[in-house]
Amino acid sequence: MFSRRTLAAATVLALSTAGLAACGGGDDDGSDSGGNVTMQLWHNASTGPGAAFWDKAVADYQTAHPTVKIKIQQVQNEDLDGKLQTALNSGSAPDIFLQRGGGKMAAMVEAGQLKDITNDITAETKQAVGDAALGTGQIDGKSYAVPVSILPGGLWYSKDLFAKAGVTTPPATMDELNQAVSKLKANGTPVALGAKDAWPAAHWYYFFALRSCNQASLDAAAKDKNFGDPCWVKAGEDLRAFAATKPFNDGFLTTSAQQGAGSSAGLVANHKASMELMGAWDPGVIASLTKDQKPLPDLGFFPFPAVPGGQGDPAAIMGGTDGYSCSAQAPKECSDFLNYLLTKDVQEAYYKAYNALPVNKQAQGAVTEDYLKAVLDAYNKAPYVSLWLDTIYGQNVGNALNVGVVNMLAGKGDVAGIIQAVNDAAKKG
């Protein structure tokens, strides 16, 4: 006979090992014998329309391709990078997922985690989207992602506040911007800046660099991570001169970019600030922070002004793209789905759901909002489009730029410190 204690002990032991067997689980990816294919899709739409767009796009695709099944998983935007990294490293990656491009994508390619889709992009897609946009998903001439929307950056402003301050036309040069800022500040509506998150502050440096450095020096820095060209110093000096006029909201160093009414986007949304330098996602963020959570009716857009003495083309713009990639093990149907995402109707639906510029040129005709038309106009006039510098040069350099620019704005560092921080970062990465 076992004593009661031994039985209890054995039970505990059994239970403690049983708990371990509950981990793990298999994917049911790939084809089964009937030629049916199941794929996983990860997107980051947290809003109703965004999620509805994916549901409809996938349902339509499945109707047209009865053998393909796509399982949708919605991931919080802030969690996406981390979850994706874990999934890719553990070999259980989704087949289709949001791709932010740049240094992160390069790291994924280097680790052999992305599918090379160069030969899968159809001629129709190439014609409808154009080489410039498709280039954002390429590394060394090979495609690893396709863009679904373009998000150029520039200044988002309140037309009412500009009119009230007597600024009749959007500033096109640095002098005009400085004059506008002093008029707007007199009315208590400064330039909004969320430097607590650092990257919005670094964006000012990026744009000064875009005006100061020509395309060749931007590309050269991407190749060898060497920021020795004097144009990088000039960009810093330009920013220092602009910051010296105290254009930003009070306490900008501890203002966040997108959280709550006190954030920089919130200040614009509530007419407490007149403008903000930001990417094309800003209208959506501003809309979510107005009192009635509706788009700001008097929102306008103008490109970053021309800066005297720079080597860069004054019409060049900077921005990012949201793209989609296939993981290395994804079935061939994955790239077919990516081509489908770039067709005219799907792209129009994407624009309506996300309020973001579609990459398909035929779909761009559907854009109605004034400010998006202004963005599109700037985009189509631009001689070249640079990706965000932290996207091109990688997070490592992006982080160093964040540190350097914040230090300078806080009065702790200087222009040389920015260049120094970038060069030091290259050593660590």
Partner: protein
């Protein structure tokens, strides 16, 4: 204490002491010990020991976080860390927080505990009020204080509305103020924990001692100074230990209130925020892991030294 019996007219003969032979524990007990501690050991090994080992391993690589690390750089990461002035700053801020936490929180908490140890009205309400901040999650506390202390936040608004415009400050971004702002928030948040510990320690002091002191004509303050405080020693030493370790690992409040980059210009960055900024934000995961190892080593050394020289008396059962 041994008592030797001295008998008249006879030598002292004490029989040699008989040690009870320890019998080996039976297999049943072994199985029980294994079964009952097994899950805990397993959890500890897989969620504490394993990550520490992995961090040490990754720390020798230059690694972007995708795929297995391949670029072995030996001790390069450690050399870079130890030469980085930003890390020196962070270490110095950690040191300030360690010392200031002890100096500020200790006396205040002892005082409050002495006060709350007396019979008085509203005692439990005051206890709750002091303890509440400790219970609220760091994220909520951080967000609330960040909003209050903005340049246009509630604190400055109140000061301006009562005509004290001169006192309205940039509480967070001003480098000469920020560390004190941080200490104020930390004290407010963690004082409750210290007070509860000290109160528990005071409960363990026998009533008879203070009664005896009262009979001997000791005043209230003499009783506290000569009886309560010395007997509270072990509790205070344990609290100080927890406080030091906590201050070395400080991350969440700083990261939430100052954001990712302003902390270092404001003078409130810590080793842990440095780790996240230079490791995760820069996608230098190998480097970040090396920082984690440095932080772990520093905490470990301090913990061992403290155990060896301060806590030893307590653990050997002599107050």
């Amino acid at each position: 204490m041994t008592v030797t019996e001295v008998r008249a007219g006879g030598g002292v003969r004490t029989p040699p002491p008989v040690r009870p032979r320890r019998r080996g524990i039976g297999w049943k007990q072994r199985l029980e010990i294994l079964a009952l501690s097994g899950p805990a050991i397993l959890m500890f090994a897989s969620f504490v020991i394993f990550p520490v080992v992995m961090a040490a391993y990754y720390g020798f690589y230059r690694w972007k976080g995708y795929g297995p690390p391949t670029d072995f750089v030996g001790l390069d990461n450690y050399v870079t860390i130890l030469q980085d002035p930003t890390f020196h700053d962070a270490l110095w801020h950690n040191g300030q927080v360690v010392v200031l936490s002890l100096v500020l929180q200790g006396p205040i908490a002892v005082g409050l505990a002495l006060l709350l140890n007396q019979k008085m009205r509203g005692q439990s309400l005051i206890r709750v009020l002091i303890f509440v901040p400790y219970v609220i999650s760091e994220v909520i506390v951080g967000t609330a204080w960040a909003l209050l202390l903005q340049t246009n936040g509630a604190v400055n608004d109140v000061l301006r509305s009562i005509g004290l415009d001169g006192l309205a400050q940039d509480w967070l971004a001003n480098p000469s103020l920020a560390i004190w702002t941080l200490m104020l928030i930390l004290t407010w948040k963690y004082i409750g924990f210290a007070v509860i510990l000290f109160l528990a320690g005071m409960q363990n002091i026998p009533e008879e001692l203070s009664e005896a002191a009262a009979v001997d004509g000791a005043t209230f303050w003499q009783t506290q100074w000569r009886i309560t405080l010395p007997l509270l020693g072990p509790t205070i030493r344990i609290w100080a230990f927890l406080s030091i370790i906590g201050a070395l690992q400080l991350f969440d409040l700083v990261y939430i209130i100052w954001g990712q980059y302003v902390a270092s210009t404001a003078g409130t960055s810590t080793m842990a925020t440095y780790m996240v900024v230079e490791g995760r934000n820069a996608a230098n995961y190998g480097y970040g892991n090396a920082v984690a190892v440095v932080l772990f080593t520093i905490s470990m050394i301090i913990a061992l030294v403290y155990q060896r020289f301060v806590l030893r008396r307590d653990s050997e059962g002599q107050a």
